[in-house]
Amino acid sequence: MAERGRRIAVLVLVLLLAVPPLATVLPGSPASVQVAGVTLLWWYAACVGPLAAVLATLLARAIR
């Protein structure tokens, strides 16, 4: 993986990991909003976060 792509991937992964702690302190508790009976925070942790991380890693590999 090229150095630039690797750095971008690291940044994106760290940002993705920072979302749950940040979501708990946001006003209005957006993490508690339910979609199809499941809170946004759980949708993020189980689906959106891992998928976004995989996508970011694959894209970062393509960056030269």
Binding site: L17, A31, A46, P50, L51
Partner: protein
């Protein structure tokens, strides 16, 4: 090292059981834990390229300590499973240790590591699919059904209301409603009754068949090995009061605790999976499988057995899915599903144990077989005898130490560099390990704002190791 073998150290029994139990219990930190564990292989993938570790006593000591702690955690889960199923703790430890030793002395040991991991993942996958199809619900539908329950109560078919179940370690549970519990085996139980503002502590020595009446607000402490029977239809003590409370606990997590988890688990993952470079497909598959599998298992466990955390061991939530076999129109017996869970945990353990040997081999060479065998046997002895320690304690310590003493110096550019006449990785590792141990030893003296460090010493140790390598390595270059 192939991709499959490179990731074998990560989904060990302790990590999987802890995550499933956290989801099933509705723990506030569960989403952060799940996300960090799932993303750790991808973090390991994008970390800087690593050079072979230099042979030195510091690297060897750190490798031995990390391997010992993680093996202890994994073996504790297997020993807990044995205790819950009515066997002896040492029996599970002996079986797992023998299999792990066998897998390393057999020809093509690396291949067997991949086979063990495949068996482990497949066995657990079968149980998960069986539970889902038997319940006839997708994971999100199971989640919705569990969250809609007005109260989490003991259901029919639970061992806690049928024959009575066993506490694996000392457990204290609060009662939200009155309940009559019956001792199935003789044991001592501590009840704390709240009488207005005053707490009254009573110790009860009960014989088999003796009953205790508890009022709302009382707490009960059960010793390891004691067995109790609860009333069906009553709220599970210690569980979330309702389905909505279970589903909504996560957004109320402490951001500091979440940060501590991310640092401990994320850095630990980077240290344990150094050989993952260019294995994008394997790392991606593992990330998605962990996230989907664990959250699905947790949702089904909550629906089938909301009391799955009562025994004091995270493995109870993993074993609870075998109850799905009681549903009609289904071919497998609960004992077959329980056996599959046991097989899955053993497969994951053998795979993880074999990978933990790799850093020891790098650090000391020829003597690694004897050292690794000694660490494995020592960890088995500890897991078999110290039944009061939950798997998370050695698991967090092992991951934290690996992150602080291995990953942090590497991120600072320690590989191939020197500080004075020492390899920079050894100096960084030593500082990281010393700070880690110091925080554990003197953690009780830390002031209030730094209290989080007691539970996550890597928060202090990793930056210390990183800083030392970054600063001294630069000085060494300037001096030259």
């Amino acid at each position: 090292m192939t991709g499959l073998r490179a990731i074998a150290a990560w989904p060990g029994p302790a990590l999987i059981a802890t995550m499933v139990a956290a989801v099933a219990a509705g723990a506030a930190a569960a989403p952060t834990l799940l996300l960090t564990v799932a993303l750790a292989p991808l973090l390991a993938l994008v970390q800087p390229a690593r050079e072979p570790a230099a042979r030195n006593p510091v690297a060897l000591a750190i490798s031995l300590a990390v391997a010992g702690l993680l093996l202890w955690a994994h073996l504790t889960v297997l020993a807990d499973a044995a205790a819950l199923l009515g066997a002896r703790r040492w029996q599970a430890c002996v079986l797992a240790t023998a299999l792990a030793l066998l897998a390393t002395v057999m020809p093509n040991a690396e291949r067997w590591r991949g086979v063990a991991l495949t068996i482990g993942v497949a066995a657990l996958g079968v149980v998960l699919i069986v539970a889902g199809t038997t319940l006839g619900r997708a994971p999100w539908a199971a989640w919705r059904a569990a969250a809609a329950r007005p109260a989490l109560v003991f259901g029919g078919g639970s061992p806690w209301v049928d024959d009575g179940a066993r506490f694996v370690r000392s457990t204290t549970v609060p009662f939200l409603e009155g309940q009559r519990v019956v001792a199935v085996a003789p044991g001592t139980f501590r009840i704390v009754e709240t009488d207005g503002a005053r707490a009254v502590v009573r110790d009860w020595r009960l014989g088999a068949g003796d009953a205790l009446s508890l009022r709302p607000g009382d707490t009960l402490t059960a010793e390891p090995g004691s067995r109790l029977r609860f009333e069906p239809g009553k709220r599970v003590p210690g569980a979330a009061p309702s389905g909505s409370a279970w589903a909504d606990a996560a957004p109320r997590a402490s951001p500091i605790d979440a940060l501590a988890l991310v640092v401990t688990v994320g850095l630990g993952g980077c240290a344990l999976m150094p050989g993952l470079a260019r294995r994008t497909s394997v790392a991606s598959a593992l990330a998605l499988a962990i996230a989907a599998g664990v959250v699905s298992w947790g949702a089904y466990a909550t629906l089938l057995a909301p009391e799955a955390g009562l025994a004091g061991s995270p493995v109870e939530a993993l074993l609870s899915l075998s109850r799905a076999a009681r549903w009609p129109g289904y071919g497998l017996s609960p004992s077959v599903l329980t056996g599959l869970v046991g097989l899955g945990l053993l497969g994951l353990f053998v795979a993880a144990a074999a990978v933990l040997r790799h850093p020891i081999t790098e650090a000391c060479g020829a003597r690694s077989s004897q050292l690794w065998g000694a660490v494995l046997v020592g960890a088995a002895a500890v897991a078999a005898t110290l039944d009061g320690v939950a798997p998370w304690t050695p698991l967090a310590a092992g991951l934290g130490l690996a992150g602080a003493a291995v990953a942090a110096p590497r991120f600072a550019g320690a590989d191939g560099a020197r500080i004075a006449s020492w390899p920079a990785s050894a100096v960084g590792g030593l500082i990281g390990a010393l700070v880690f141990v110091a925080v554990i030893a003197y953690g009780t003296r830390l002031p209030g704002p730094l209290a989080t460090l007691r539970d996550a010493p890597a928060l202090a140790a990793a930056p210390a190791a990183w800083l030392i390598v970054k600063l001294l390595r630069r000085e060494a270059r300037t001096a030259r």
